[in-house]
Symmetry: C2
């Protein structure tokens, strides 16, 4: 299945190694459309508004074609918030992974009935175990 992995880019890259491990796991039996998010060398600065429009339109097209959204929300991010809202609008299944030792999840996300699959984790192994046990993901 196709998976849209959402995580912080310009909001901060301190968790990029976690994103990479989650993407590597998901890519074993699925296709992660947004695997660049786990790339430690990803340029996070914008060159121009045209570049940003290209990124946004590409990502929205991926959201439209994805079977599932997996969002890592521990690092606050405007983009991830926007993507979660868009996934809700498109009625895409959404899994949210959150480490509450790093931040508290936004009330706008935690309080939205549509986001029913919100999982707390602390280690990458725990997060992978959650994904393994999630019925909606192929293993």
């Amino acid at each position: 299945m196709k998976i849209y992995f959402a995580a912080s880019i310009r909001g901060g890259r301190s968790d990029v190694k976690i994103y990479q491990k989650l993407i590597d796991f998901l890519n074993q039996d699925n296709q992660v459309l947004t695997e660049h998010i786990g790339n430690d060398n990803l340029s996070v600065t914008s060159q121009s508004q045209t570049d940003d429009k290209y990124i946004r339109d590409r990502d929205i097209n991926w959201l439209k074609e994805t079977d599932l959204v997996v969002a890592e929300t521990s690092n606050p991010s405007l983009g991830v918030g926007y993507e979660l809202g868009y996934a809700e609008r498109l009625h895409k299944p959404v899994v949210i992974l959150h480490n509450s030792t790093k931040s508290q999840l936004s009330a706008m996300i935690n309080g939205t009935d549509y986001f029913k699959d919100i999982f707390e984790y602390q280690t990458v192994d725990e997060a992978i175990e959650i994904l393994k046990n999630y019925r909606g993901i192929q293993n």
Copy 2:
């Protein structure tokens, strides 16, 4: 007019004094529905999922009744990203104020055609001047 002021809560409160000044300015001739965002003593921790659902539903109702959304985006925030997406979905006019010395605006926001009124500022006085000159705001 009614204004929905959006800014970081759980994403971080380091700019709360800026939010307060912008809200005070907007409240002079308008009604800011979300004026609690400028409250330095606002509790940002969740007591329960029920509380978060109350907050989310109240805020979405405010979004539905507002005439304009003013979002301060310098501090990355899942909630603000979600609210911006929701405002786009409801076709509400949106003004975005961003201080790029603090962060770079998300490509998902900067690259969305709907968000055409994105303004850079560095001082609160500059931000207020932008709001004064914005045709869509009553002064």
